[in-house]
């Protein structure tokens, strides 16, 4: 590859200044003439029959323009994956926070006041909150037609696991639990909904999946997908949560009934109780290894709590079941997964998508194996880690793998050998690896690539259209860099449009760490097409053949003679005149060389590229309080190529911080089926003082399938963090954390138990 001008360089995000100045208009800032304000009345019970709803008093309140319930909806059962959703609770409310009714009024105060006037007669029902309890024979049923509360089952088996265990020198077996945590994005979920004269709905909403959402919502509303337009303005974060959620449809129903635009944004409280937090999981693991530390067999059982309806939990449980199998050279693996209904908020995607839960468990187990075998955890990973050009047990084709380089570089930077060797009381160091994907072939069965449009007008203004979603992670900047590089212009010349399903490509969206690779390749293809068209115009102007035309830093020239050049704008103007006013429009798409996994064996190749990482944490534990402080953190990440090193390192820092919060403090706490910490006073996320200096290391093996060699970073930034910290806690105390988050109280209990014992292994 020739020298790069824009890609591989650090730029602040192209919209950073606007955001820092408070000029960005987020969903919450949008307004339309005549707009009403919506609020949702939510179930105060985890499980209750709805015997009657009287909305008459609320409807009479001055300023109230619409009050709606299930009766105002088409009554269609729908869902992104399973048709177990209704817009509003039908005959019963299934979780604390379930939508029961909603109001649209002239202002927020009136809407809030009206909620108190809606009279709902409930009959409380027995509820079940824990997924294991929900599987028991006498458990209350969340959905009457789902026996055993089983929402989905998943199985995968490869090789001969039983024989592998027989051939093992050591076997480790235990049960782990990962809890329900909230994504804590800055802007709560919500939408602005408007319905035009023809009945066509426009939704302005912060969503990761504008196009897929539109299809789900079309079903829910009983209209065709082309009757819904989704526009994605700037929005305040998502971390996986912002996929389908009833709050958007409630806004639509309110707009339909009132005949006016309705903006409905969750209060933080509502967002806590009715967002889509992480799938909690019970995970049983059995892991074997030979004397030399070669992993033999792995068996897991995952029980994941879906909450009251399936958003994407069954895909997340499936991911937990088998994604890690392609991190190491496993040959014999068996997994079983159960996705189980419970009377809690529906759970869904959160950075890591099940792989983070299982990575925590597997990497904990690996350290236990390493200890049994008296092998350095670093060596155990190096011995088993999957390398470049290998095929994993499930058929995944690993092109580039910087896994081992990540381990070696992280260990070096963290001074692993020295620190592990000179152990001090209640201080410890631990590491963890992870793999991930850059797109997930089976997530949408129709296709999994990406597309782009590059429009260049008379003035040389370049607009990139994509169909993914920038939630603040910097996708616009990444796409702009890719387009700028390919077109040969400075970054400032690129404008990236908000996604509008009427205009943008039909992109699948931002999830599965796919944006940079899939969307980036789509934008790259479109830029290539646009360049080709401009090159033809420039060839005419420069009197050369189009193949010899180059553009760099905004000037067209003939290859080999850069002294004679034409400004980009002049060429763009000429191209527009040649087309009698039509802009140059480049389109393109990317077809990833993936293989849809076989439904039975799951053998396939789910992603064109697999990122890897190794993170190392150092901790200090207060032996009298059980409190853990993370004192140092190194994160080495194989990102293929960092399109924007600054942004990539930002992802690492953010992922580690989020993982640290999950490990040490974050937890959605329930009592009597009700969330008891639905605010940032008691749902604690890390403050700046809780986070040590995080030292990112970017490993760049250049991925052949990536745009300019890039793979994804979003999710792997967090996947290894939990076990890096808990492995460090183990190193410091000999206490194995098997449940997240680490409770200082429980850790203290364990420390005291150990102190009571006369001698210890360490």
């Amino acid at each position: 590859m020739s020298k790069l001008d824009v890609v591989g360089k650090s730029f602040p995000q192209i919209d950073a200044l606007e955001k820092a100045m408070g000029k960005t208009k987020f969903v919450t800032d949008l307004a339309l003439p005549q707009m009403l304000h919506g609020r949702v009345l939510r179930s105060p019970y985890p499980h209750a029959k709805i015997k009657n709803i009287d909305t008459s008093k609320a409807a009479r309140l001055a300023g109230v323009k619409a009050v709606v319930t299930y009766a105002d909806t088409p009554g269609i059962k729908y869902g992104p994956r399973t048709d177990d959703w209704t817009i509003f609770a039908d005959d019963k409310a299934r979780f604390y926070g379930d939508e029961v009714a909603a109001v649209a009024a002239v202002d927020e105060d009136t809407a809030e006041g009206a909620l108190d006037l809606i009279e709902v007669e409930y009959e409380e029902l027995p509820f079940v909150a824990d997924p294991l309890e929900a599987m028991q024979a006498d458990a209350p049923l969340v959905h009457d037609d789902k026996p055993g509360n089983i929402a989905a089952e998943f199985k995968v088996e490869a090789g001969d696991v039983d024989q592998a265990f027989k051939d093992s020198h050591v076997i480790y077996e235990d049960r782990y639990y990962t809890n329900q945590v909230y994504q804590a994005y800055m802007e709560p979920m919500g939408a602005l909904a408007e319905i035009d004269k023809s009945g066509r709905l426009t939704l302005w909403t912060g969503t990761q999946i504008p196009n897929m959402m539109r299809m789900t919502y079309a079903t829910a509303l009983g209209v065709s997908a082309d009757n819904i337009r989704v526009i994605v303005p700037d929005y305040g974060g998502a971390f996986g949560a912002k996929m389908e959620n009833n709050v958007h449809l409630v806004a639509a129903i309110l707009a339909r009934k009132s005949g006016r635009p309705v903006r409905l944004i969750n209060t933080r409280h509502d967002d806590f109780i009715a967002g889509n937090p992480r799938v909690p999981m019970y995970i049983d693991i059995k892991l074997g290894a030979t004397k030399d530390g070669i992993l033999t067999g792995k068996e897991v059982q995952v029980v994941g709590g879906a909450g009251a309806r399936v958003v994407y939990s069954q895909v997340i449980v499936a991911t937990a079941c088998y994604r890690v199998d392609s991190l190491y050279r496993f040959k014999h693996v068996r997994s079983k997964g159960f996705t189980v209904y419970t009377n809690t908020v529906p759970t869904a995607c959160f950075r890591g998508f099940g792989n983070s839960q299982m990575t925590f468990v597997l990497e904990s187990a690996l350290d236990m194996i390493a200890e049994q075998l008296n092998i350095d955890p670093v060596d155990l990973r190096l011995k088993n880690g999957i390398g470049p050009n290998e095929t994993s047990v499930h058929g995944w084709k690993i092109n580039s793998s910087g896994l081992k380089e990540c381990v070696v570089k992280a260990a070096e930077k963290a001074e692993w050998k020295t620190k592990r060797g000179q152990k001090k009381p209640f201080k410890g160091i631990g590491l963890s690896c992870c793999n991930h994907v850059s797109g997930n072939r089976p997530f949408a069965r129709e296709f999994d690539g990406g597309a782009g449009i590059v429009r260049i007008g008379r003035d040389g203004r370049i607009t990139v259209y994509h169909g993914e979603s920038d939630m603040g992670q910097g996708q616009k900047t990444t796409f702009a860099q890719i387009a700028a590089e390919r077109l040969g212009v400075p970054l400032e010349m690129i404008y990236v449009a908000d996604v509008d399903t009427d205009i943008s490509p039909f992109g699948l969206g931002s999830f599965a760490t796919r944006g940079t690779l899939m969307g980036g390749n789509g934008v790259l293809a479109a830029a290539k097409d646009a360049f080709k068209q401009l090159a033809e115009t420039a060839a005419g102007m420069l009197e050369a053949s189009a193949e010899d035309v180059r553009c760099r830093k905004g000037s067209f020239f003939i290859s080999g003679s850069p002294e004679k050049s034409l400004p980009f704008k002049e060429v763009a103007a000429q191209a527009t005149y040649d087309r009698h006013g039509a802009p140059v429009v480049g389109t393109g798409f990317y077809t990833p060389p993936t293989v849809l996994p076989d439904l039975e064996t799951k053998y396939g190749n789910i992603s064109p590229a697999y990122p890897f990482a190794c993170q190392i944490a150092e901790v200090e534990i207060d032996p009298d309080t059980g409190q853990v402080t993370v004192t140092n953190f190194v994160g080495a990440h194989d990102v293929g190529r960092a399109i924007n090193p600054l942004a990539t390192e930002g992802q690492v820092r953010g992922g580690v911080t989020q993982g640290l919060g999950w490990t040490l403090m974050e937890n959605m706490a329930y009592a009597d089926g009700k969330l008891i910490n639905p605010d940032f006073v008691d749902y604690i996320v890390p403050s700046a003082l809780d986070v040590p200096e995080i030292k990112p290391i970017l490993v760049e093996p250049i991925e052949p399938n990536g745009p300019y060699g890039a793979k994804g970073i979003g999710e792997p930034a967090l996947n290894p963090t939990m076990s890096a910290i808990t492995n460090a806690i183990y190193n410091a105390t000999g206490i194995r954390i098997k449940e997240l988050p680490v409770s200082p109280e429980k850790l203290l209990e364990e420390i005291n138990k150990k102190r009571g014992q006369p001698t210890d292994n360490k």
Binding site: D624, T629, A671, V681, V685, S687, L689, E745
Partner: protein, 301 residues
């Protein structure tokens, strides 16, 4: 969570504020930094019809040694901000325990607007300034149109969020006597993260030697967040008071035990009662150790 409509008036001075309270006290609430009040209004715990702002009362934003009465006390205006108090050189010299405690409140943003008067009048059992002020035997000057009244902080709190303050009264200032002999203090709070967290349990330990500089003349121990109000623990104090520094060291763990027993913490989403009790014990030991060491180094020649 919207704030209900209310009338707002910013008092230009103390007298105007007191006049206004005299007329409308029952319907009105005063606001200082608003870092507690606004949240309570949002949650609809308080629905005042009238909010009287003390924001412009610069006359209540001060730290002074009291020249007029005697030179033995310091007066802290109720409108003093935590950020200023945490860095005040005079307080740092004489009452480092108070500076430490208010320096642990919330975040920079909160400390820049939150006032010590608001922290006390809000009467949270977990208010961080309360345990240090209790062990310093702080007095409160309450003012109304009718006049001023001085009461001890210990008699001020009556329950969670409840005080003896009358609707026409405001807290004007806090008065603390200066120690006559070497003194030292220490405050520790249990929290779930290293900043911006309410205290799940707070421990204040203050001691002053006698003229011999070897005997503990005064010992103050107070707890926050583990009872309906911040509380002193006289039985734990009594165990150490009157002892030499060396003797006291040997009694620290007994003292901590007594204090932990005296606490009546609750189980909630933040921590269990038993963990809070354990932490009280640990923190008293750490605070006491720290204070006795300081006194030994400063006085024991």
């Amino acid at each position: 969570m919207r704030i209900q409509p209310f009338d707002y008036w910013a008092a230009p001075g103390l007298n105007e504020a007191l006049n206004e309270l005299d007329l409308h006290g029952a319907d009105a609430t005063v606001i200082a930094g608003g870092t507690d009040l606004v949240l309570n209004m949002k949650k609809k715990n308080i629905l005042p019809r009238r909010v009287i702002s003390l924001h412009n009362l610069n006359e209540l934003d001060f730290v002074l040694t009291d020249e007029s009465l005697d030179n033995d006390s310091v007066r802290i205006g109720a409108l003093s901000k935590h950020a200023d108090l945490a860095e005040n050189p005079f307080l740092k010299q004489h009452f480092p325990i108070l500076c430490e405690a208010v320096g642990l409140i919330g975040s920079w943003q909160i400390r820049n607007v939150g006032t010590i008067g608001g922290n006390i009048c809000n009467a949270s059992p977990a208010a961080d300034s309360a345990p240090p002020l209790l062990v310093l035997d702080a007095q409160l000057v309450l003012a109304s149109k009718k006049g001023e009244k001085k009461i001890s902080l210990e008699s001020f709190f009556t329950g969670p969020g409840a005080t003896v303050l009358e609707p026409d009264q405001i807290l004007k200032e806090i008065v603390i006597e200066l120690p006559k002999q070497p003194s030292a203090g220490c405050y520790m709070k249990l929290r779930r993260r290293k900043a911006v967290d309410v205290s799940l349990a707070g421990v204040a330990f203050q001691a002053e030697t006698g003229p011999d500089r070897k005997t503990l003349a005064k010992v103050g121990i107070a707890l926050g967040g583990v009872a309906p109000t911040p509380v002193r623990v006289p039985e734990a104090e009594a165990l150490l008071a009157g002892r030499t520094l060396d003797e006291a060291v040997t009694k620290i763990s007994d003292c901590a035990e007594i204090a932990a027993k005296a606490a009546s913490p609750i189980d909630d989403v933040r921590a269990t009662a038993s963990y809070r009790r354990t932490i009280i014990n640990v923190f008293i030991q750490r605070c006491a150790q720290n204070v006795l060491n300081t006194l030994k180094n400063s006085g024991g020649d």
